[in-house]
């Protein structure tokens, strides 16, 4: 099943993506984690070697004036994703390759075909890749741009990550108001970095008018904050810490959503 994380920049998408991937793999689930941000970040919190290598170069090819993928999404992910050292159930795929070196910054220009094809391939995979027997967790870039471009795909769960701040709730309402979401997508919210019952109420009240249910409330968590500041992988945070327990609850909700109980 696909789980796509959306939200304002800085709301905690990458952190939650990493915690969720860790939680699901610890339950024996196979996970492919995909970082759609132009600057690599998810790799670092997963404890993977951050890389700027362009794994997807030439995975889309020119075809009659358009493009086609150089294989099925599953084949390409199999071929190009990185295994996670120390976690045999986790694989990782990265979009970002924008480097300070200007020649790489021009990666979207068609004259730089290898990089342009990589972008096309990446966008297709973000939209389409799914693993019926496992999980695809797609960590989209902050903001509405990628979602508006369809990178959230057409099925699975789109998780809006929302902090108890006006800018974050305003952004969440924008996502809900972007237009007609594909019928196969379930839009749900995670209230993140919540410090009090008042803050939780604030998030719920902001999302109720747009009909997005809050599936999990993740509290502020000093141990998690320390790990982030130290640059330590989040798997080093005690599984009993408040945020990790909340993510365990989120994993329960997502597993239910994958195989919904038959109606009576």
């Amino acid at each position: 099943m696909r789980v796509v994380l959306l939200g304002k920049g800085g709301s905690g998408k990458s952190t939650l993506a990493a915690l969720l991937a860790t939680e699901l793999t610890s339950r024996g689930e196979a996970v492919v984690a995909i970082d759609a941000d132009t600057v690599p970040g998810l790799a670092q919190v997963l404890g993977l070697e951050p890389t700027d290598e362009w794994h997807l170069a030439n995975q889309a090819v020119r075809d009659n004036g358009g493009w086609r993928l150089n294989g099925t999404p599953a084949e390409i992910v199999d071929r190009c994703s990185m295994p996670a050292a120390g976690n045999p159930r986790l694989r990782f795929l990265q979009c970002g390759n924008v480097d300070a070196d200007l020649k790489d910054i021009e990666f979207r220009r068609e004259s730089n075909l290898a990089n342009w094809s990589g972008t096309i391939a990446f966008n297709s995979l973000s939209r389409q890749y799914d693993d019926p027997g496992g999980w695809a967790i797609v960590d989209l870039q902050g903001g509405t741009l990628q979602a508006a471009g369809g990178l959230a795909g057409t099925k699975g769960v789109a998780l809006l990550v929302v902090e108890p701040f006006a800018k974050s709730t305003m952004t969440a309402r924008r996502f809900a108001g972007m237009g007609q979401w594909p019928a196969g997508i379930q839009l749900a919210a995670v209230a993140n970095k919540v410090a009090s019952a008042d803050e939780e109420d604030h998030v719920r009240a902001a999302l109720a008018p747009v009909g997005v249910p809050v599936w999990t409330v993740v509290p502020t968590d000093p141990a998690l904050q320390r790990a982030e500041r130290d640059g330590r992988p989040l798997v080093t945070v005690d599984p009993d810490s408040p945020a990790r327990r909340a993510v365990a609850h989120l994993a329960d909700r997502l597993i239910d959503a994958r195989h919904p109980a038959p109606s009576a």
Binding site: V39, P50, V98, A100, I105, G142, G143, A166, R229
Partner: protein, 130 residues
Amino acid sequence: MLAALEEKPGRVVLVDLGGGVMTVARGDQSQIDTLVVVVEPYPRSAEVARRLLEMAAAKHVGRRIVVANKVADDQDVAFIREFLGLEPDAVIPVDGAVRTADRLGASPIDHDRASPAVGALRELATSLLH
């Protein structure tokens, strides 16, 4: 737009470029004379800042200012200093009043003008345009 605006003495144009690197990466920055890079004391924020600063230098943006934000202690400043290889031009402390203003959808300057963060920004404003 920036190129077409009238040159008026005493006028300041201040642009919020949005999060991430793409606006600076794609854009021609020749109209900008100062780039202010805001960075938090943790690796992922500092990596974006590092790339922004290098791009700005490569695109000949005359002045590059680094603002360390949500700083809790000296260790935080040291982290930024080491990661970016420079001394931040301004240090804004973690400030509960800013968090409250954010929750209320208000500007920190309206919510609590005397708060430490606003104080630090007051100093930065002065040094930006002397």
